[in-house]
Symmetry: C2
């Protein structure tokens, strides 16, 4: 049995990961679960999957989790630890073979890095890990012979398509994007869209930030950076196509003119199971994850509009500038999206905040995780200050900033 540690077990990917584990009895043993502050959900997961170690966000969550677990009647031995050090302990357990990195934003960065250095296989859902520290993380993976298996549906698709040729035979990879809820919204109307509208993703059910990132196309910008590190390709060999039906999850065009595509229903269990069982494919229970091409709408493809959705271009710009830039981009985006969701920032101001933070970011290399985290913090502070400024303008003018 493969021993699992799941970072971010109560999030959307974490929960789906445990559904996959349940659907394949006898294949996996959940050795450790790490979550943030959703202690009720974590306690239920502990009861069901019986890990020997649980990690919570901070020390003050330990006792409350213990109480919940006990009140559910859990009788197996369980250690509860907290914070980054707790996460590092979890990924390093000798009984852990595979670490699912699915924490919110960059909060799983250090533990994921530690997992790679400990030679564990990694399934990566937190694309931020590669966006902010791609060079450090992929270098460590090369050194330890660790293969990072993507859990993003697009990158899982690319991983699958890559099997049809050698890496030198790739002309370009084509990441597909649903286009989000505002695919047909005019530039003017984008200024006044609400958080409720932005959170209505047409095809995928995901967490809040990634859903807004899908609406701004920043998610695709981050994915270009992620693909660069996962597949060692320059930005020029990574194309984006809008594909509103979210059936084709990505494609590879080979040098001989053949295009390979991976299709499936929009359900994260498919890329999760692929990563967990690779190099095998295992049958899914029943036919709930079967793709019915007769029932789907026609598949269509169109060019992304970087005028209405400048975040995509910002993502490419950050990758091309390299160094600290992708880290600053990611931090600024996270702050701007939070501000938008709390009503403190217009939708169309999200890219403005990011652009300004990038303009402030020096062209330096990030040679250690400490440097990365420092850059992340600085960019967040800048972004918060910008949000405050734009927010106050918003309140005083009541109009376009």
């Amino acid at each position: 049995m493969k021993g699992l540690c799941i970072l971010g077990s109560t999030g959307s990917v974490g929960q789906n990961c445990l559904r996959v584990v349940s659907s394949l009895p006898g294949r996996f043993r959940v050795a450790a679960l790490s979550a943030g502050k959703n202690l009720d959900a974590l306690a239920r997961q502990i009861l069901e999957f019986g890990p020997t170690l649980a990690v919570v966000a901070s020390a003050e969550c330990i006792e409350p989790l213990r109480l919940r677990v006990n009140s559910l009647g859990h009788r197996q031995p369980l250690r509860i630890v907290s914070g980054i050090e707790g996460q590092k302990e979890a990924v390093s357990l000798p009984e852990v073979d595979f670490v699912v990195s699915a924490s919110h934003g960059v909060t799983g960065l250090e533990a994921t890095y530690e997992a790679i250095r400990a030679g564990k296989q990694v399934g990566l859902a937190s694309k931020e890990v590669l966006v902010v520290a791609g060079e450090l993380v992929t270098r460590a993976a090369r050194e330890r012979g660790v293969q990072i298996l993507p859990i993003d549906s697009e990158h899982s698709a690319i991983h699958q398509c890559l099997r049809c040729g050698l890496s030198g035979e790739v002309r370009r990879i084509i990441l597909t994007a649903s286009g989000g809820p505002f695919l047909k919204t005019s530039q003017k109307a984008l200024a006044s869209v609400t958080p409720e509208q932005a959170l209505k993703h047409p095809t995928w059910r995901m967490g809040g930030r990634i859903t807004v990132d899908s609406a701004t196309l920043m998610n695709k910008g981050l994915e270009v950076i992620e693909a660069h590190w996962l597949f060692a390709l320059p930005s020029s060999q990574i194309s984006i196509l809008i594909h509103p039906e979210s059936i084709v999850h990505s494609m590879i065009e080979f040098v001989d003119g053949s295009v390979m595509a991976q299709l499936s229903v929009a359900d994260m269990r498919i890329p999760i199971q692929y990563a967990l069982t690779y190099p095998e494919r295992l049958a899914v229970n029943g036919n709930s994850l079967g793709l019915d091409l007769l029932a789907t709408r026609r598949l269509s493809f169109q060019e992304p509009d970087t005028r209405r959705f400048p975040c995509l271009a910002l993502g490419r710009e950050a990758l091309q500038k390299g160094g600290a830039m992708p880290c600053a981009l990611n931090a600024a985006d996270e702050v701007a999206v939070e501000a938008f969701l709390s009503g403190a920032l217009r939708f169309s101001d999200i890219p403005r905040v990011i652009e300004k933070v990038m303009a402030f970011t020096p062209s330096v290399e990030l040679n250690s995780l400490e440097n990365v985290l420092e850059c992340d913090q600085e960019a967040r502070q800048r972004a918060r200050a910008l949000v405050a400024g734009l927010g106050s303008k918003l309140r005083t003018t009541g109009g376009t900033v």
Copy 2:
């Protein structure tokens, strides 16, 4: 350099094969060319590619070819031989590494079988070889460790998609079909379609019989049988989807819910080059074979209608009955299509002829090529007699037979 023998060099696949050879200088040496009676085209090919051996249909073609070759100023040594024995000699030449089997119908069967027994790699365009003698041919290939590389666009697509998993992980393969020119024609109107209409294929430019076979969907029935032998799957794991745009050339659904698809422009040079260069993919010259997904229509899929197109069901029936049945099916279809093209048979009578020939065919195994060819001849005679009967009825009644 890989030494090539091309059976059927003046046909559509043969010509495209030579275009691929020209586009990849230094990769291939054309050792032998075999054609039927198109001596002008064969002479030009000899001049351009300089094979040491040429094969013509019959002894009386040898001298006329020699004259043409000489009049073109060809000065290199060239042997010219004829018939089946000539083809066998060509495939067995020590300088031949790879045999492209692209002869008309079953005329290349014996030479292809000989090539496999001589341990040559085979690129198979003549699906009839596997339809009529799948068991004999695949058994010989297994015994000699020969991999048969498909040149049909659908089967090439399947070969590519299969690389994304293990054979036990395939839930089903999905062969796509353009649906042909009569996709939307009513059953009643099908009775009176003309050869000119049937020869207007919406997406592919091919020879006459395969174009009519695409219009009746018999081509897809033959492809189900071909896929059965190439990929060792039962009929129940081989689905057909109508895909009028001919962009997705076929797909595989894996047990984990992932569907892999191969897409490209509808140009035979892509599957030909894939087979010739496998396991490598080589860059095609320029971007003429690039797929522009932005310029394509939306991709759509629908179920085939076996009521209007009974040939597809006949193909499956022949595969399920096995033994002599696929051979009889193929022979009857070839005769019926020829009769349709010459105006001697209605379009809607093609499946009737085939069905009746199948009803006459005994359930016997075909244990040798001699048995296969005998069965082929008997079925052709039956089909001709049926065509004559239907044709005379057609003339006397002037209406539906």
